[in-house]
């Protein structure tokens, strides 16, 4: 047990762990993060979780997430936990709250939307109802959050 914990959480000295990602969504999380060649990144997929059955996990060394990154991850992996590691210790552990607004990482599914013809960041207002929806600031079309895709 201790050993597993070592591997999953304590393997990085400083950085960010995104735990309890719904199985299969880790690569979407990676797509959101603009990773330079310098950070060590570990991805675990289909690991056994007591909490959510199967889970994915992403660990990034020497890197904190921007607010926009946190918001976008919250959209595609709302069950995840954000863990900050300093000197092998967990210094902060929070859930991803569904944001009211996201910028940049999401593609507007409307081909006629200006965000798909000009090189400008997309912007969405989120309605966190029972079935979460997102409305594009520009074309004003409304989509189910679960149908949204990540810009790569």
């Amino acid at each position: 047990m201790n050993q597993i914990k070592m591997i999953k959480v304590n393997a990085i000295k400083n950085g960010t762990v995104i735990d309890h990602i719904a199985a299969g969504k880790a690569l979407k999380v990676i797509d959101i993060l603009t990773l330079t060649g310098n950070n060590a990144v570990m991805i675990g997929m289909n690991l056994v979780s007591n909490r959510i059955g199967k889970k994915d996990i992403v660990k990034i060394e020497n890197r904190e997430l921007s607010k926009e990154e946190v918001n976008s991850i919250a959209l595609i992996a709302p069950s995840a936990t954000l863990i900050i590691i300093k000197d092998f210790e967990v210094v902060n552990k929070t859930s991803f709250d569904m944001p009211e607004y996201v910028e940049e990482h999401i593609i507007c599914p409307n081909p006629k939307c200006i965000t798909n013809s000009e090189d400008i960041p997309s912007k969405f207002y989120i309605n966190n109802a029972e079935i979460a929806t997102a409305r594009c600031v520009y074309c004003e079309k409304k989509y189910l959050v679960e149908d949204l895709r990540i810009k790569i």
Partner: protein, 300 residues
């Protein structure tokens, strides 16, 4: 109000202020002076009527216009970005009035430039000045916007105008009759919006027999091209043509509106009745646009 991009941005108070200003401009109580003011009309998609209406509005106030029309994206050929085009135009003019087939283009323009931007239609998304002139026509003929019974007829699926009008009138507690062929019905997302606001609506396939209890009938054109089979078009066409014989039992205050151009969905024999209001409606468009420009430029 800094820009006019979408009906969604307007509160009831904003709408009433616009209505009030349009009325005062029409009756001469307010005479906005746009001398030395220049409006840039950027029409990346042709719409002669809307452009003329804005051009007239500006010139009726002694203002002037520069017009860019027809091309899809002005300097795209030269490799200039849309943002640069807008920035440049903004150096010449006091207000940008823009029509584009790209949805969200006006919202983006308003982010890029410092001068006011008016959305004169962005693809299938919004056409707020049309919605406002429709509201102005309704308030002028009915004396109010609250609790009216409104029929929307024709192509309700692709018609941006009827979508904006339904959303705008819902704020004022309207009740709707949607009259259209089944495959050109009001889209689900509009109906969902209305249901959320507890707005009553019913759907019908025939104009005849469904207009006697209406205050307003808003007719739109059904395009033949929407039909895969021309015979299907021929079959349903007659159900969406308004003529004089259908009018004997309508209400005293009943008025027929149409965004124009009309093809044959309103028979010309309706034109001479007191119920026809589509030509005054076009004139109302000028007053409404004068009011919008005046408010955005801080002249009233």
């Amino acid at each position: 109000m800094k820009n006019l991009i979408s009906m969604r941005d307007l509160s009831k108070e904003d709408i009433m202020r616009l209505m009030d200003t349009a009325a005062k401009i029409e009756n001469g109580e307010i005479v906005p002076d746009m001398q030395r003011k220049l409006a840039a009309l950027l029409f990346f998609e042709p719409s002669t009527r809307t452009m003329f209406s804005f051009d007239t509005a500006m010139k009726r106030m002694n203002g002037d216009t520069i017009i860019m029309s027809g091309t899809k994206n002005t300097s795209a050929k030269k490799g200039e970005t849309f943002a640069d085009t807008l920035q440049t135009i903004a150096q010449y003019s006091d207000i940008i009035i823009m029509r584009s087939p790209i949805e969200g283009a006006a919202r983006y323009a308003a982010e890029v430039v410092d001068i006011p931007v008016v959305n004169a239609g962005d693809g299938a998304n919004q056409h707020p000045t049309q919605a406002l002139l429709d509201l102005y026509s309704i308030i002028k003929t009915q004396g109010k916007l609250e609790n009216l019974k409104i029929g929307l007829a024709g192509d309700l699926r692709f018609g941006r105008t009827v979508h904006s009008l339904a959303q705008a009138m819902a704020v004022f507690g309207a009740e709707f009759k949607f009259i259209s062929p089944s495959f050109l019905q009001m889209p689900e997302y509009i109906k969902d919006d209305l249901t959320e606001q507890n707005i009553k609506f019913e759907e019908f396939k025939d104009m005849e027999g469904n207009i006697d209890d209406l205050d307003i009938l808003y007719v739109t054109r059904i395009q033949k091209e929407r039909f895969a089979d021309p015979e299907d078009y021929a079959k349903v066409k007659g159900s969406y043509v308004l003529n004089k014989t259908m009018l004997p039992n309508v209400k005293e205050n009943f008025k027929v509106l149409h965004p124009l151009p009309r093809v044959d969905e309103i028979h010309t024999d309706v034109d001479d009745t007191k119920f026809a209001y589509y030509f005054p409606q076009a004139k109302n468009g000028v007053y409404t646009r004068q009011a919008i420009i005046s408010i955005l430029l801080g002249e009233v």
